[in-house]
């Protein structure tokens, strides 16, 4: 029930944000459609199980984002340095690497893949079951994987074990 209410409130806030109209007609249409969406797909947005409440999981995701953004900034500066370096070809050493992840939930794997692709210097090429194929621009970018990012995604999205 709590996840239903949370989904409904989130949807309604998004509706109000996009419509920007506060008269009775627009609000009631919004409430109606948010109720329908909540009924059909309330288990998609917030996820929880017996070991771990949905609120805990959502807070984990919220805590993960600032860290991810900081990683993106740092990695962007590194790539900017490589791009602008006069002897750029000596600095880069592209390679394909493969590693196995301990993440189980599909959404956690996708989040890790997107995070890897977002941080410059690494692109996730493929996920096959628990096998990640990543294309890295430099040796150091390749060696930093999976490492801390996987741990943090696991903390944010995996049920506690």
């Amino acid at each position: 029930m709590a996840t239903k209410i949370a989904t409904f409130v989130t949807m309604l806030l998004f509706w109000v944000l996009l419509s920007g109209m506060f008269d009775a007609f627009h609000l009631s249409v919004g409430v109606l459609s948010c109720l329908l969406v909540t009924l059909f797909s309330h288990e998609l947005l917030f996820y929880g199980d017996k070991k771990r409440s949905w609120l805990h999981g959502t807070l984990g995701v919220v805590r993960y984002f600032p860290w991810l953004f900081w990683q993106i900034v740092v990695a962007n500066l590194q790539v900017a340095y490589i791009v602008l370096h006069p002897r750029m070809l000596d600095l880069i050493d592209p390679r394909l690497i493969r590693f196995k992840t301990f993440l189980k939930r599909p959404i956690a794997k996708v989040a890790l893949a997107q995070s890897i692709t977002l941080t410059p210097g690494t692109i996730t090429v493929n996920i096959d079951e628990d096998q990640f194929t990543v294309y890295a621009l430099t040796r150091s970018a390749a060696e930093s994987l999976p490492g801390e990012m996987e741990r943090r995604v696991g903390k944010a999205l995996e049920p506690a074990s």
């Binding site: 993106i72 900017a80 791009v83 070809l89 880069i92 394909l96 997107q114 692709t117 410059p120 294309y135």
Partner: protein
């Protein structure tokens, strides 16, 4: 406020410029994909933040809603950009585009 917004946009433009330079300088398809797909993520977000902040200069409910919508663009970019990059990279790998490596340089 105007100064912060301006410097965010200028910083974003710097990263866009780096992305373009990288696109021209890198040796092969995959490394160019790095430059194109990556610098864009931060650069676009910086520019979007700057524009959203600039829009808040005369504060009202309407301008706040518009700024939040602009921020929603940043969220979509964050989801769509890596997905596209990943799709292009995998397509190239499936077709069999050879990656550049250190050995090619020495020959």
């Amino acid at each position: 406020m105007l100064w912060i917004a301006g410097s965010l946009v200028v910083a974003g433009m710097f990263f866009f410029a780096v992305g373009v330079i990288g696109l021209l300088r890198f040796p092969d398809f995959y490394t160019r994909l790095h430059a194109a797909g990556k610098c864009d993520s931060l650069a676009a977000v910086l520019v979007i933040l700057g524009v959203a902040l600039y829009n808040l200069a005369d504060f009202s409910l309407a301008s706040l809603l518009v700024s939040l919508k602009i921020l929603a663009i940043a969220v979509f970019v964050f989801v769509a950009s890596p997905t596209a990059t990943h799709a292009i990279a995998e397509a190239a790998l499936v077709i069999g585009v050879e990656p550049w490596s250190k050995k090619d340089q020495e020959q």
